[in-house]
Amino acid sequence: MSAVRAAADGDAVLGLTPRVALEPGSLDEAADAMRALARDRAAVTFIGGGTDLELGAPPARLDAVLHTRRLDRVKEHAPADQIVAVEAGLTIAALQRHLAPHGQRLALDPPHPERATVGGVVAANAFGPRRTRFGTVRDLVVGVTLVRADGVVARGGGKVVKNVAGFDLPRLLCGSLGSLALVAEVVFRLHPLPEASATVAVPGLTPAEVRALARAALDARLDPVAMAALQEGDRFRLAIRFEGFGPGVREQAERLLALDPRCEALAGADEAALWARHDALRLAGDVRAKAAFPPASLEGAVRTLEPLAATLTAGALVLHPALGIAFVAGALSRAEATGSAVAAARVALRPGNGSLVLAAAPAALRAVADPWGDPPPAVEVMRRLKRELDPDGRLAPGRLAGGI
């Protein structure tokens, strides 16, 4: 039986407190809980590790929250097939601990792996610097078991990496923020743990130099797993990471060092510290924005985002030059000014289909800036999709772009 209790403070979502909290401990219990919610026409938001609940608008209605924390089992791991099937409430760190003894990993490194859950990462489309080489969760998910708003359990994809039978429900759920269905179980494709790792870092770069060096590395046919530039004062430190077999990693690092005399090689604790700094910078403060743009527009994007960062206390940028993504993080001091800077940045990013999303924002900023910006071009189809899967609008209503 699904554990049900009266909601407490820890169950709040963006300031709203539900009446009850459910904590199913199995797929059957989750389906049962969803049917009960359907019967009562209750609006529900799902909570994984609770690390990313700020993403999106506050739900328009909230009667219940459903925690996935008791859905934390590894259901199947086939090392020889490089596949793992897990329940949605398993944390990324726990999953990696299960896989490591087999020399494998999920090639996904979102922030807060100790708390972030598999379901939350799928639903929030969370990622880390290794996206440069391995893509997002969409590129790693091969199957999903979902529970619909009406309590029906459905599966999409499967347990094999290559599979084109039926519509691609697993990828469609990536980034859906719990508004289409509960993600109950996920099957991932795995990658081998690398034998070696090395990072080459270059301090003191302008945005143009960040872009030029990132490009030079790619033009030289190097194959980095991560590339990120951290703001330091008015300059950036670009970090480029290689993973793989020893000889390959060594050769690539050496070739990069030869490209620019300012490069320095990092390994071991220094390397780990630099990437930890990346995560910390990306998450600093109570305002976190993610800007997306075509990668070649990096300098323009930085010019657009610096005024936004300047409105924040200790505002700083993290750039992912190969992806066309930049994070702005800092503490809110003047909501009006930040709100206008967000609006200005959105206008500037619009060509090339760019966007700026507020992944976290205090209520004062939300009062003057929508977390998503303008409705997406295909919003009508998105609304219809929502209606097809959640006709009564009970799953995290109003949380997504376009008020979906």
Binding site: R35, A80, R148, R155, K162, V164, D168, S355, V381
Partner: protein, 498 residues
């Protein structure tokens, strides 16, 4: 609701079918671009699967997104089903017409619209041939990664609809991993843009639903694909083995060693014989062969390639051949890529199957297939993507022998069931189309299929686009999910409510 097929339904609604709107369509695309002549319609009766032909009422060939939208509106108003068609190389009957339909061919829309090497993408019309994208950017050191064996003839629009793969998808992923944006005409005539050159467009990832939807969600009129830089180094080797058991063990060993080959392909005895007959390659007569590519930066590739060869030897390889130069490498790949067609040299007719199994089960499944073939009194040649367990059993038969074609079809079906039993899939790249819709109900449950069809309803509530494909029993859109249905356990009073 009875389970009348959507195709029948749409045809019925269409009354006189597409013929009735021929003049209206001609006014949009020009009379030369509406085909009604029975002789000319012949080639549109099927795709790469030549049985189960259906004569379309007409074929319309629009030249732009605007023309496609206008055609769709006319079809919608007259309830004429539309079957999008690219190059017609599909192997699951995806572009097979349905009665009363208009085939909407994208073959006139074959311009490369824009190349942006700084950002690494190409924006193309759907009729552009896969290999032509690579040809357009190869000089600058770029390429388009998905490489179906049919890449010199199949279209990007077809690739998007089928989520096509190829040998190098093991490392680089499928079409879905390489499409950044698409312009789509929906069944109500609306033109929508999904995705874009910038990543992470807010909202649902509708592009994910579109890729692999087999022409059932809308007509794709523009595609933006990712371009990759050509890898610095590629190392290839060809290894022979006494049987598929040792070859399968070599594949497992290579993967277990943490190696991600760019491609690793297997051929069994019959497939080798056929490839030799077709290409004149001097491959030995052996039980199995592997062809592996490693690519990437120099030192990594040298290391990986050497390790993989060691592992293949330890697994029982009889002989390892490393091509001396690019020409010899291309020849080895030609042997592999021509293996399908080559089977025609050793058998008057054959069926191409496409199923997926967990990679670690290759050896066992191949033995099971051998047993099934023996029981059916037929031969099966296997040439496939071993790295991801994507089998392509080729069932050889002689259509002139009464009953053999039926036996071959039955054997193909048994092989698909085998894939499902092993936890795999009925298709890894050729799609479900018209041919495998019946098997969908064996791989998926009714609730799974219902959920997928709701996605379809969000895009195409009128069931106008390629109706009757993929799903064994079409769902009518707008069926209101009934009021809350109590779970049997609840009725029995077993489950408590909160």
């Amino acid at each position: 609701m009875t389970a009348r097929s959507a195709a029948g339904e749409a045809a019925q609604r269409g009354g006189a079918g597409a013929r009735a709107v021929a003049r209206k369509l001609a006014a949009i695309v020009g009379p030369r671009n509406v085909v009604v002549d029975p002789a000319e319609l012949l080639v549109y009766e099927c795709d790469g699967l030549t049985h189960g032909r259906v004569r379309p009422d007409l074929v319309v060939l629009p030249g732009s997104t605007e023309e496609v939208a206008a055609v769709v509106r006319v079809a919608r108003d007259a309830s004429v089903p539309l079957v999008p068609r690219g190059a017609g190389t599909g192997l699951s009957g995806g572009a097979r017409p349905v009665p009363g339909c208009a085939v909407l061919s994208l073959s006139r829309m074959r311009r490369i619209l824009e190349l942006d090497l700084e950002n690494g993408w190409a924006r193309v019309e759907p009729g552009v041939i896969n290999l032509d994208v690579t040809r357009a950017v190869a000089g600058a050191g770029f390429y388009y990664a998905p490489d179906p064996s049919s890449q010199s003839v199949c279209s990007i629009g077809g690739n998007v609809a089928e989520n096509s793969g190829g040998a190098h998808c093991l490392k680089y992923g499928f079409t879905t991993n390489h499409v950044l944006a698409a312009r789509v005409v929906l069944s109500d005539g609306a033109v929508v843009d999904l995705g874009g050159p910038a990543p992470d467009a807010p909202g649902y990832d509708l592009l994910a639903a579109l890729v692999g939807s087999e022409g059932m969600l809308g007509v794709v009129t523009e595609v933006t694909v990712r371009l990759l830089r050509k890898p610095e180094t590629t190392r290839t080797f060809f290894a022979t083995f006494p049987s598929t058991d040792e070859a399968g063990a070599a594949v497992s060993g290579i993967i277990a060693a943490g190696i991600l080959p760019a491609a690793i392909e297997m051929m069994d005895r019959l497939a080798i014989v056929a490839a030799k007959a077709a290409t004149g390659l001097d491959w030995p007569d052996v039980g199995a062969a592997l062809l592996m590519d490693a690519d990437g930066p120099r030192a990594e590739v040298e290391h990986v390639s050497a390790r993989a060869i060691e592992i293949a030897r330890a697994a029982g390889a009889l002989e390892i051949r490393v091509p001396r130069d690019e020409a010899e490498r291309q020849l080895m790949w030609k042997g592999r890529k021509s293996a399908f067609a080559a089977v025609g040299r050793i058998s008057p007719s054959y069926l191409v199957e496409d199923g997926v199994i967990p990679r670690s089960e290759i050896a066992r499944v191949l033995r099971d297939i051998g047993r099934l073939a023996e029981e059916a009194g037929l031969r099966v040649a296997n040439v496939f993507h071993a790295g991801d367990g994507n089998l392509h059993p080729l069932v050889l038969y002689d259509a002139r022998v009464p009953g053999e074609e039926e036996r071959a079809a039955r054997l193909g079906g048994e092989i698909l069931r085998l894939c499902i039993r092993y936890g795999g899939s009925i298709t890894g790249e050729h799609g479900v189309g018209a041919e495998k819709a019946a098997y969908m109900a064996e791989q998926f449950g009714p609730d799974d299929l219902d959920t997928m069809q709701r996605v379809r309803c969000a895009f195409d509530g009128a069931a106008l686009m390629n109706p009757g494909k993929v799903f064994p029993t079409p769902r009518l859109c707008g069926e209101k999910p009934g009021p809350y249905r109590p779970h049997p356990a609840e009725v029995a009073g077993l489950a408590e409510r909160w």
